[in-house]
Amino acid sequence: MSAFSAIGEEREIDRNEYTPDIEPQPTWCPGCGDFGVLKSLKGALPEVGRTPEETLLVTGIGCSGKLNSYLDSYGFHTIHGRSLPVARAAKLANPDVEVIAAGGDGDGYGIGGNHFMHTARENHDMTYIVFNNEIFGLTKGQTSPTSPKGHKSKTQPHGSAKTPIRPLSLSLTSGASFVARTAAVNPNQAQRILKEAMEHDGFAHVDFLTQCPTWNKDAKQYVPYTDINESDDYDFDPTNRADAQELMRETEDKLYEGEVLTGVYYRDDERPSYQQEKQNIGEMPDEPLAERYFDDDYEWERSYDSFIDKHK
């Protein structure tokens, strides 16, 4: 029997199973977009058929990072910007666990930008949700990598001189095999996209537009927005890289003008995940590595038998 009997259990899952029934209740500010992420994730997980005990949610630091205090599963609240490397290894160690990483735009595109680029490039099989509120929330309203040019904050009193980062384009060029944008104001679309992201076999990046009414009063509430997968105005194939690229460029130019396009921009279901690539070259065990430590019958190899002759 597997040491992890929570994995692959087939049963009806109630979304309330993900709600911790004791303190803490969410301490996000009233009206915060983060509630929308929580809600749609709670909706999507049962649809994917994943129970709290076979799910690992790895977060960074920020208001967003508190997500796993409010979503009851296995959780790892790491350090600022470092959710991805922790999550990557967790998935390599036990690919049967559903691994989701999450954090803010400062966390993911700022301090953790390097990890973002590399996780996308390697195409690790996981879902990465970035709460994009165009601001640093938890440290009280400083300019973030997605804040619009000219945005004034206490640390940039004359307005930001920097062009905001382009998360979708960055993700695509880095190599993510699933790139989507959704918004907290539409939990139904968000739930659908998160479900697709989790079901996707590869790195699924969801730029999740969340409003921060406390520090980013100017921020558009991302309404009205257009769902590019549904709208007749966009004759668009998400498996076409060039189309995706063009549409991303357009969106990222217009986001700050109030025209918000959401949906799945790009997906490549052919590209093997990193785990698969590693397995193909013989650098990844067939069975989850984690299982082996619970298998009393496993014969552990010794260096003496394998390598000592080289040194004699």
Partner: protein, 629 residues
Amino acid sequence: MSDELIWRIAGGSGDGIASTSQNFAKALMRSGLHVFTHRHYPSRIRGGHTYVEVRASADPVKSRGDGYNFLLALGDSFARNPQEDAYYGNEEVKPLSENLDELREGGVIVYDSGLLDPSEIPDFEERVEENDWHVYDMDLRSLAREQGREVMRNTAGVGVTCAITGIPLEAIEELMRDAMPEKILEPNLEIMQTAYDLVNEEYDVDAPDVSVPTGDHDEEQVLMSGSDAIAYGAIDEGCRFIAGYPMTPWTEVFTIMSQNLPELGGISEQVEDEIAAAALAIGASHMGVKAMSGSSGGGFALMGEPLGLAEMTETPLVLIEAMRAGPSTGMPTKPEQADLEHVLYTSQGDSQRVVLAPGTVAEAYDASRRAFQLAYEYQIPTMIIYDQKLSGELTNVPASHFDREPNADIGMTLTEEELAEQPHTGDGKFHRFQHDGEDGVSPRSVPGQKGGRFLATGNEHNPAGHISEDPDNRVAQMDRRQRKLDAIRTDLDDDGLLVEHGPSDADYGILTFGSQQGTVEEAVDRLNENGTSVKALTVGELAPYPEEAVRAFLDSVEETLVVEMNASAQFRGLTQKELGTHGEQLSSLLKYNGNPFEPREIVEGFTTNVVEDGELPGNETKFVPAAGD
């Protein structure tokens, strides 16, 4: 005639000095000798002055020797033109000129006259005469060219060495057969024989100028470096996940692991930086896998934050810190022991961590295994601190030392049946961080297990893992985490990482840590032979510090010299801090010029400064007298 051979092969980086010397050392080991190598190389890929010394003796050798007695100067095929010598100096003759100072009286010089011209070295002839050196000029380059390829100058040089010292060629041949593909084996064997014969034709070597002792081992030996030993210790302890980013000299452990893990069903990841590397190790360990990472000074600096995360979330983690000379990128290929405080204190908050410092290759294996046991039993980050010296030097160790049972136990991790019996919150969240637990350990669960759901967080948290700033909970959690260190201290007491050497009733003491162990012990033997009564203690556990054992040692002698490779006496500082006393009894002998101590420097430093209250000449080492508490 000397009872030991210390053979130095010199040339340019990239000329095959390392592999040739390794084979030579192995041949000597196989012939029954004890061997020890010392490697000197610049931070350059090709060219620049490099050498490896192979010391061989019938008696155990623990250190590089004092000077050496056989020079094989090969010539640096990548040397720059002497016209451009403003920066690099006259590199063309460096393999010869740079090595003369330490060559002992009566020693042998073999130089490649095809590449080296001694007339460019001022006073060469005079020095040869003065020191009674035996010089063999051999055109190894032409020889190698005629037979095939110029790179085989090395092999020609080994043939010459065998002819002069009386080492039978068969010993080397056997190794070459093991190590080389057929195609290059034949020309190599041929060239070695030709060079060997040439010496016998041109010189009278009936009575060798420097001969090789004969020896015999009771049991089979292996030739290993500290990095090999650390990697094998990790493998035997069930480590199957490594993440890293290259940095000298940590790269050695990382490489050995990466080359071996896949065939053992393990995973190795070269990642974007050291923060990621440590974070990956944490992620894998969190899932119940034995994992490691590591780096050298600058890379380890980046690991400060993940290190703290492992402490706070009580995720087992093993990190290796392979020290080199700093600050910053310092001297990439030179050893130093100056990252001690960095490793002890890096990361924020009150720290709970274990730091082990093996002193020998055999201990490196033991420490590596021990590091994993402690990390997983106590759910605490455990670091191995060692240095460029121990990482690269090769020595023989009885093969049986490595012949041990594997152990893949992941410590206090519950099964699902056990989890069912544990306290849970109302909604079934497992109390992962219980306050009780006498030795501070609260058993853990692993994602995917039924009934084990919990939150790991770098914020302070309550027993179920929820973030909490409750003062009583804070104190209880902090106290529990601190309790681990007392339990570990007791556990470590008979671990063999505290090594005493010399007469137990000695008048004086030498205290040291890490890679200086062997050199100090040789110096202690010599001091005793010369009539100074002294013993040494090498401390292999730096955190938690073995305060009682060190106190007992210091109390048993009049005065103690602390020997370490750094400029600020960090180990002496640690000892004084931990003991709170003994300042008036502790003086320091420091070396930080990029080269490890030689035994004679310790003998001299000890005699001049401690015994005679004099002052050391020269600026290789520095003496810092005792100060009050």
